[in-house]
C-alpha cells in the first residue's frame, strides 16, 4: 500500500492520525496525500493529528504539519494537533515557529473535546 504512511483510525465522525518516530521528508510529504484522501473518502468532520510519538520536529516537519492543517481545513474538516511534547514545544518556539494559527490540545481526549466545541 504505497499511500499508507501512518495508521488512520475513525473515531465517530472524526479521524485520528498518529505520527510516530523519526519520519523522513518523503514520508512527511506522502502523509499530506494520505490524510487528505482519507478526509475526502470518509467525509470526516474533524481530524486529530497526534504528534506525541514524533521523535523530532524541525522547521520543515512543523511547516508540513501546518500545511496539512490548512489542507484539511480546505476540505471542510477541522484539524487539531494534539500531544506536542514539552521539549518539542520549547524547541519550536526557540526555533521561531509559533504555530499560532493552529488549534492544539494537550492530548487526544482534550482534542476530541475541542473538536466538539469547534463543530457546534
Amino acid at each position: 500500500m504505497p499511500h499508507e504512511i501512518v495508521p488512520i483510525i475513525r473515531v465517530g465522525e472524526n479521524l485520528l492520525v498518529s505520527l510516530q518516530g523519526d519520519m523522513d521528508d518523503e514520508a512527511v510529504i506522502r502523509l499530506e496525500d494520505q490524510i487528505t484522501r482519507e478526509v475526502e473518502r470518509t467525509r470526516a468532520k474533524g481530524t486529530l493529528i497526534d504528534v506525541s510519538g514524533l521523535a523530532v520536529v524541525d522547521s520543515f516537519i512543523a511547516q508540513v504539519i501546518a500545511r496539512i492543517v490548512a489542507m484539511v481545513g480546505l476540505l471542510g474538516s477541522e484539524a487539531v494537533i494534539v500531544g506536542i511534547q514539552p521539549a518539542v514545544a520549547i524547541t519550536l518556539v526557540e526555533l521561531g515557529i509559533g504555530m499560532e494559527q493552529i488549534h492544539t490540545a494537550l492530548n487526544a481526549g482534550k482534542g476530541m473535546e475541542l473538536l466538539k466545541r469547534l463543530q457546534t
Binding site: D24, S59, F60, A87, T91, G96
Partner: protein, 137 residues
C-alpha cells in the same frame, strides 16, 4: 577538552536526514543529555543538515558527532562540514528571517539559539563549517 568515540555521517541527500538525526540522538544519549537538551540538539543539527542540502555541494558534506568533556561538564558536539560555495555575509545569514532561497530563514539563527555553543566559519568557494555543542545540565 577530550573527545569520546566520534560518529561520522555523510550528507548526500534528503534520505540521509533521519540517519543524521539518529546519530545526533545516540551521541546525545551517550553524553547523558536530558530530553529537552537532546530534542534541542537534534532539531538544531537537523536544521544545519537541511541548510547543507539546500545550499552546499554535496560532495564531501558530512557531520562528525563526538562526546566532549571539560573539567566541569560533559556534553556533545557536532561538526558539519561542506565544500559548498560558502556564505557571503555571515552576519546576515545569522539574522532571523534572512534567506537567499525564499525559505523561512530560521535554520542558522534557530540552531544557534537551541545550542550552548555555536560557531560558523565560511570561506567563499571553499565551504562552510558549523559547530554545535550542547552541555549536559
Amino acid at each position: 577538552m577530550s573527545s569520546g568515540t566520534p560518529g561520522h555521517y555523510l550528507i548526500r541527500s534528503e534520505r540521509d536526514l533521519s540517519g543524521v538525526r539518529k546519530l545526533l540522538r545516540s551521541q546525545a544519549q551517550l553524553a547523558g543529555l536530558g530530553t529537552l537538551e537532546l530534542t534541542k540538539f537534534v532539531a538544531a543539527g537537523s536544521e544545519i543538515a537541511r541548510n547543507i542540502l539546500k545550499y552546499a555541494d554535496l560532495d564531501g558534506a558530512s557531520v562528525t558527532v563526538s562526546l566532549i568533556e571539560s573539567k566541569l561538564q560533559s556534553g556533545v558536539r557536532a561538526v558539519f562540514v561542506d565544500l559548498g560555495p560558502g556564505i557571503e555575509d555571515l552576519d546576515l545569514a545569522l539574522q532571523d528571517g534572512y534567506s537567499t532561497s525564499g525559505s523561512l530563514g530560521i535554520g542558522l539563527p534557530g540552531a544557534r539559539r537551541l545550542c550552548d555553543e555555536f560557531s560558523l566559519e565560511s570561506e567563499p568557494l571553499k565551504g562552510t563549517t558549523v559547530t554545535l555543542a550542547k552541555w549536559r545540565r
